[in-house]
């Protein structure tokens, strides 16, 4: 089976980011997506702490400790970008002004529920950040994650077993095996990577999938 590596997954997500889109990239693998959006597209990146028009990392020595992204990495601002407070930043999300948010996830359900902020391990102190606001707010929510856990347990399930981040919000799932859309009929496979077969992918999934049309 072909399993994309994280960079290849980010590259696949980047294909679905349209020119002119306002996009929020979650912490971790989603942040890599920006590296693969083709140069002929102009995409405006939002950072939840209060930035539109996030640019690349600064040159060494040029860092401003105030100018960081949601993942606490130093960033720059593109010409045309601007700053605002956190309440306005989350108003942008909740108000449906972002075209796309890309999040990682522990689990996604067949109805588009997402679990990405807590496991069932209560010893680990919880943290939620902006995940729940992004989940409900963006016009389209993309999830990018491995299709299974490292132990090959499915992460795409009838019902999430981890605490939910949002219910019925995921639009498209990009895994290392395939691309799936959440539809009213269920999870629709829209693309299989390499020679991966529908049966291969179904076998690693915890809910019934609809084959590519």
């Amino acid at each position: 089976m072909l399993r994309l590596n994280p960079d290849e997954m980010a590259q696949r997500v980047a294909q679905d980011i349209p020119d002119g889109a306002y996009v929020n990239l979650g912490i971790g693998m989603p942040t890599k997506v920006a590296n693969y959006v083709s140069a002929d597209k102009q995409v405006i990146y939002h950072s939840e702490n209060g930035i539109l028009g996030v640019g690349p990392a600064p040159a060494p020595g040029e860092e401003n400790p105030n100018l960081i992204n949601a993942g606490k990495q130093y960033v720059t601002l593109l010409p045309g970008g601007c700053y605002f407070d956190n309440a306005e930043s989350f108003g942008m999300m909740r108000g449906g002004h972002l075209d796309i948010a890309v999040l990682g996830a522990f689990q996604v359900s067949s109805r588009g529920d997402i679990a990405n902020w807590a496991t069932n391990n209560d010893k680990f102190p919880p943290a939620v950040g902006g995940a729940m606001d992004l989940a409900v707010g963006a016009r389209q929510l993309f999830v990018v994650m491995r299709h299974t856990t490292r132990d090959n347990e499915p992460k795409i399930l009838d019902e999430c077993t981890y605490p939910l981040t949002g219910t019925g919000v995921v639009r498209r799932i990009f895994t290392d095996l395939a691309v799936l859309d959440v539809t009213t009929d269920g999870l629709q496979v829209v693309e299989l990577f390499g020679d991966n077969t529908f049966a291969d992918v179904q076998a690693l999934t915890g809910t019934r999938l609809l084959p590519p049309v």
Binding site: D85, N86, G91, V136
Partner: protein, 226 residues
């Protein structure tokens, strides 16, 4: 003449009592009033409730208040970061209570406190564990959670420039929670990079109007031996 300047950070925080609820601005390393927090730590008020997006990392900022055992409760969206050792330790030993709030709900609860609003309905968190025990309702088929204002006795904020009336501007993404917190506390203390004369801040560029700010402390530019 109105002049809200206070010379030393220690004087600005001297009346913060034990048991106070304190908002502290900042997001990650950005826009944190580090000198005011250090003054508060030295002042030693305890049993504090701290409202802030993060819980500090290493030995700095809010982490130092947690380390010194001054914090009873923290209201926070993202307390756990790489290096948030003191939060993790105090949480595991059960000596600090955590109220976890989604980030946008946190900033809006702070905003409405400053704006005299009694509550708001947000779709964020609906159907999740963080809405448990809260009033909910469905409007046009969409679920909402009723969230209440977060008020504070004191706000410690960080800005770039102030004038004597307390008007504030910020440095890039250092703005984050600071403007909402300035409006939501009974007493707001601003640590700033520099104080400029009245009229030097352009009236279209002021982000926090001085009406929300009670005390202004200019940053100490060089380290002073304790």
């Amino acid at each position: 003449m109105i002049d809200k300047q206070v010379k030393a950070a220690e004087d600005a925080v001297a009346d913060i009592p034990d048991g106070a609820t304190i908002m502290i601005g900042g997001f990650g390393s950005s826009g944190i009033p580090l000198q005011l927090i250090e003054a508060l730590r030295c002042h030693g008020a305890s049993d504090l409730t701290v409202i802030s997006n993060n819980a500090g990392v290493a030995e700095e900022g809010i982490a130092s208040l947690l380390r010194d055992g001054l914090v009873k409760k923290i209201v926070c969206s993202f307390p756990r970061s790489a290096g948030s050792i003191w939060f993790e330790k105090r949480f595991e030993e059960g000596s600090v209570e955590l109220e976890l709030v989604p980030q946008g709900t946190l900033s809006e609860r702070i905003r409405i406190a400053g704006a005299g609003i009694g509550g708001f309905l947000t779709p964020t968190g609906y159907g999740t564990r963080l809405a448990e025990g809260k009033e909910t309702r469905i409007i046009d088929g969409k679920g909402y959670v009723l969230e209440m204002p977060l008020h504070a006795d004191f706000a410690l904020v960080r800005a770039e420039y102030a004038d004597p009336w307390g008007n504030l501007t910020y440095n890039t993404a250092g703005r984050n929670f600071n403007p909402m917190m300035a409006a939501a506390a009974k007493t707001t203390i601003a640590e700033v990079g520099a104080v400029v004369d009245i009229g030097e801040l352009h009236p279209e560029h002021v982000i926090t109007p001085g009406i929300f700010v009670d005390r202004v402390v200019a940053e100490e530019k060089c380290d002073v031996a304790a």
